[in-house]
């Protein structure tokens, strides 16, 4: 039954990838912005929830809420600082600025939370469900359900409401959108705050699975890149499918080939696709 267990593991891993990648997908695909501080934001989300649970004694749902709010505020500050670069669509500078801000977040978190690895206590993460020889935890179920709900809600919001078309209009041409009376700055702010809050939610849900470190940064979320590029940049359904597919790939590769090289293998997959279909992946 090893294969069935690996399928479950794959879905568990994949829903986590998709959950963490959601904010990036929206940011990159819908608003065409980049944020290389994503990994550090993930780290911060995890540590804020850890702090809320272990130091403030808050229950898990409130800790998640706190992480979402704190990260939302940080997102607001970051985006306000970068607004001029965003409005001039200076993507090269934006990439480097977010990388620098991520480094600041990493240093600041190490000062506040200390350099030791911590574990997010989650009662759900220890609640195992056994079906015959197969097993998973209630936390895994929670991640999967929340991920599916979030993707559904975001898809409806961006594709079926007026706000969704407003965001896409701004991404297409911020100056032109402003001529039509849209406040482009507000839209960018909203999308960026959403990205930060979404990654906080993802971190609070996914991080109980493994120890957290203030230095984990990008290596922890490198799969996010692969998910976003594989899924076709900006495609919400594509990101969900790519996340789950990548989860299955990782689970099987880890179980049957070499667990230490799963990231390398996922990356090789990405490279192969970039060579075969560069235009189809790099453009919408």
């Amino acid at each position: 039954m090893n294969i069935a267990q690996q399928v479950i593991n794959g879905i568990v891993l994949g829903s986590g990838y998709a959950c963490i990648a959601l904010g990036w997908t929206i940011l990159l695909g819908v608003a065409r912005l980049v944020n290389f501080a994503h990994g550090q934001l993930y780290m911060l989300g995890a540590f804020v929830s850890w702090y809320a649970i272990t130091k403030l004694g808050l229950p898990y749902p409130l800790a998640i809420l706190m992480a979402i709010i704190v990260l939302g505020v940080i997102g607001l500050l970051m985006q306000s600082a970068m607004m001029r670069l965003v409005m001039t669509q200076n993507l090269t500078s934006l990439m480097i600025v977010t990388l620098g801000l991520g480094y600041v977040l990493q240093g600041g978190s190490a000062l506040i939370f200390g350099g030791n690895p911590q574990t997010l206590p989650g009662t759900l993460a220890r609640a195992k469900i056994d079906i015959g020889p197969l097993w998973f935890t209630w936390q895994d179920v929670l991640v999967l359900v929340v991920t599916l709900l979030l993707y559904g809600a975001v898809w409806l919001f961006t594709q079926r409401t007026r706000f969704g078309s407003v965001i896409r209009a701004v991404a297409e041409d911020p100056k032109l959108a402003e001529l039509f009376g849209i406040n482009a700055k507000l839209v960018y702010l909203g999308v960026f705050v959403f990205e930060c809050s979404a990654v906080a939610l993802g971190a609070a849900l996914v991080a109980p699975r493994s120890p957290i470190l203030t230095s984990m940064g990008f290596n922890e979320v490198i799969m996010t890149f692969v998910v976003v590029v594989l899924g076709g940049i900006g495609s919400i359904g594509g990101a969900l499918a790519a996340g789950l597919g990548l989860g299955l790939f990782t689970a099987f590769f880890g179980a049957f080939v070499a667990p230490a090289y799963t990231t390398a293998a996922a990356f090789a997959l990405l490279l192969a696709l970039l060579v075969i279909r560069p235009a189809g992946l790099a453009t919408k």
Partner: protein, 325 residues
């Protein structure tokens, strides 16, 4: 100061030559002028090595307008080549340097060819992912060092016709680091005036003009990316000898943030810009250190603030101030 407007005033080449020679002599004697202590030597050696590291990324960022987040790979290739070949096979510095150059060219050609048709942020993403994967390989592959890295790298030996340079002490490494820095500067200066350098700038600044002149931007991009790799690689090569240890920490984002900050701090497309930027940043970290975490905050903030408020760097700031008053 841009590469395009560089036809030299040919009337005073001798004076210019003398000034450059004076600067070189001054630079070489700088550690002795600063007291000749081993701290002065090691700090200046580090500055020289890190500046060379930055120049590799500088070519790509300043002349191609692309952000390579994968230059730590070349940096680590240099370090690992020096470490493994000198510890396991007892090869001298020339052989390890040649291996560094060859391996960097190969890695850059592969990475450049694969990302040839990707646009700006996908290029950065893929180069970054390449660095993460290279880290994973270096961390897990025990044959090249694994998670422990390679310890006990012997002193650098560069046998020449008459003498035998050896870098046993920090003081001995300085001439080599300084020579590497000079070579790099000469190469960059040559590159700025070369056909490739000016064409790369044209592709970045005016793609339409470049296309109408029949330039293939992909070929230019690949060429610039490939020649940038061995520069950063040779810096990593010397860094391995300076530290006598090489490990997966060569992939740390510190080096990446350091490269980018040193480039943008003074201003892009300025020959001495990365060198001055590196010197300022290393001086802060070595002499005015606030502790590891605060240094991270300083480095990251400098990078973000410069790009947000003075995109043209300190030189741009200086020009703006002098114009206003």
């Amino acid at each position: 100061m841009t590469a395009i407007e560089s036809p030299q005033p040919a009337s005073i080449p001798l004076l210019r030559l003398a000034a450059v020679a004076a600067f070189i002599v001054m630079g070489f004697l700088l550690p002795r002028l600063l007291g000749g202590t081993s701290v002065a030597y090691s700090t200046l050696t580090t500055i020289a090595i890190f500046a060379v590291m930055c120049y590799g990324a500088d070519i790509v960022l300043s002349y191609l307008g692309e952000v390579s987040l994968g230059h730590t790979v070349f940096w680590a290739i240099g370090g690992y080549a020096a470490a493994n070949l000198s510890v396991k096979y007892g090869l001298n510095g020339w052989a390890t340097a040649a291996a560094t150059i060859a391996l960097c060219l190969a890695a850059a050609t592969f990475l450049g060819a694969v990302t040839l048709r990707t646009r700006e942020f996908v290029f950065s993403l893929v180069t970054y992912a390449a660095a993460v994967v290279a880290y994973e390989i270096a961390f897990n592959w025990d044959a090249v060092g694994g998670s422990d890295g390679v310890v006990g790298i012997p002193p650098l030996k560069l046998p020449l016709l008459l003498t035998n340079f050896s870098g046993a002490m920090q003081e001995d490494l300085w001439p080599i680091a300084f020579a590497l820095l000079l070579l790099t500067l000469a190469f960059i200066a040559r590159f700025r005036r070369s056909r490739l350098g000016t064409t790369a700038l044209m592709v970045q600044m005016n793609p339409a003009l470049a296309a109408s002149l029949g330039v293939d931007p992909r070929r230019i991009r690949l060429a610039v990316f490939v020649i940038s790799a061995p520069i950063t690689g040779l810096a990593g090569w010397l860094y391995a000898y300076q530290r006598a240890y090489v490990g997966p920490d060569m992939f740390e984002s510190y080096f990446l943030v350091m490269m980018l900050t040193a480039i943008v701090l003074v201003g892009r497309r300025i020959l001495l810009g990365p060198l001055i930027g590196t010197a300022l940043l290393i001086a802060q970290q070595n002499l005015l250190s606030l502790g590891g975490d605060w240094n991270k905050i300083v480095l990251g903030s400098v990078l973000a603030l410069v790009l947000i408020f003075w995109p043209a760097g300190l030189v741009g700031l200086y020009r703006r101030i002098t114009k206003k008053t």
